[in-house]
Each structure stands twice: as C-alpha cells, then as structure tokens.
Symmetry: C2
C-alpha cells in the first residue's frame, strides 16, 4: 500500500493521518524493512564469487558459502578460505565451518557461537 511505498522509498513527506487503518500485512513489511540484515547462500566454484561475498559482508549481511564444489580441489579451497578468513578479520566478523560443505562468514558484530544446542548437553 501507500505507506509501504513511502517507507521503502524513504520519503520524508509521510502524512501519518492518512493511514489510520493500517493492516497487519503492512506492519510485516515495516518490520522487515526496519532490520535489513540478510543471509545469502553462495555457491563457490572458485575465486569468482569472492568479490560478491565481500560486498555482502561489507554491507552487513551474512554469507553461507557452499564449498561442496571445490572441497576436493585443495589449491582452490585454500585460496578461497584464505580470502574469506581475511575478509572476516578485516570487518571483525567471524568465520566458521558448518559440516563438510558450508562455511559461515559474518559481518561486523555478528558472531558464531561455538557451543551447539544439543539435548545431551543438558
């Protein structure tokens, strides 16, 4: 509706009185707009995807890198992981492997908790 356009467009001219009958779907849109952190999955086949991963991290988003395609190519894997580790260090983010196929890279201020949730720990 109108209010979403205005919020998404970041217009300064919003007239609140026009929108007294705001419905729930509009409210949801506002919630998601307010946050702006995204998780994005990257299928890494080499160094080609690294620049876009960097952009996401610098934008404050989280990337889950799928390294399944390169995990048996030691040289490529080494290069990619070295770049991603440097990236995480540069922004004071975090980098952690998830299983055999994924690496989670986080932006400034988001960390990966090394303690897993598992019922045996309780």
């Amino acid at each position: 509706m109108g209010i979403i356009d205005k919020i998404l467009g970041k217009s300064e001219k919003l007239n609140i009185d026009e929108y007294e009958e705001l419905d729930l779907s509009e409210y949801e849109a506002e919630i998601s707009e307010a946050a702006g952190v995204y998780i994005r999955v990257a299928e890494v086949t080499g160094l080609n995807e690294v620049p876009e991963i960097k952009r996401e991290i610098y934008d404050g988003n989280i990337v889950v890198a799928d390294i399944a395609f390169i995990k048996h190519d030691k040289l490529t894997l080494d290069r990619v992981l070295k770049d991603l580790r440097q990236l995480a260090e540069d922004v004071k983010g975090d980098i952690v492997g998830l299983g055999e196929d994924y690496v989670i890279i986080t932006p400034t201020g988001i960390k990966v908790d090394r303690n897993k949730i598992r019922s045996s720990s309780r």
Copy 2:
C-alpha cells in the same frame, strides 16, 4: 579512537582526549560487544531441542538447525519443522532449508535471500 566509543557506546559524556592511545585489541572488543547477534548451530534429535531454539530466536539470534539425525524419521521431522515454521512466523523472522541437512531460522528483521550468489548468474 574516541569517536568510536561515542558512536558505539552512545555516551554523551566521553572526553575524547582521554582515549588517544586506544589500541587495536580494545577496538575489537568494543565492536563485538556492540552487536550481540549470534548464530548458533542446533543438533536436532527430536522435539527436545525446540525450546532452546525458541529462546535463541526470541533473543534475536539466528539458529542453524542440523536435521541430519531426524531427516529419515518423517513424523519427527514434520513435528519439528512445523514448530520451527510457527516460531519464524511468530517473530516475523524467516525459515529456509540449506541443503539436505540444515534449516536456517532467523529472528525478527533478519531474512534469508532466496537468490544465491553464483558466478553463472553474472
């Protein structure tokens, strides 16, 4: 330096002159302190882990649920996923499968981008 303290700590009273010799390690600690969003992996073996996942999501953290242990137990998988989907809806977060073994659940305001980063898309 001092100005970072002001921005991160939002203190009005800080005297910038006092912090001229701030070193890098202090800066790192401030950055991580300021954010407070965590990603936590949960090894899901049944409904037992759901309450702790809920706590994390309500605290504003992201959970990556490892469902490898239950993926062949249709009944349990269905129950767990139903609970997690309801959770994501309740907080206006998000829920998305990652490969065959993982489900990402996000808190309010964090969304999963359905567009993967892949070099073939460029």
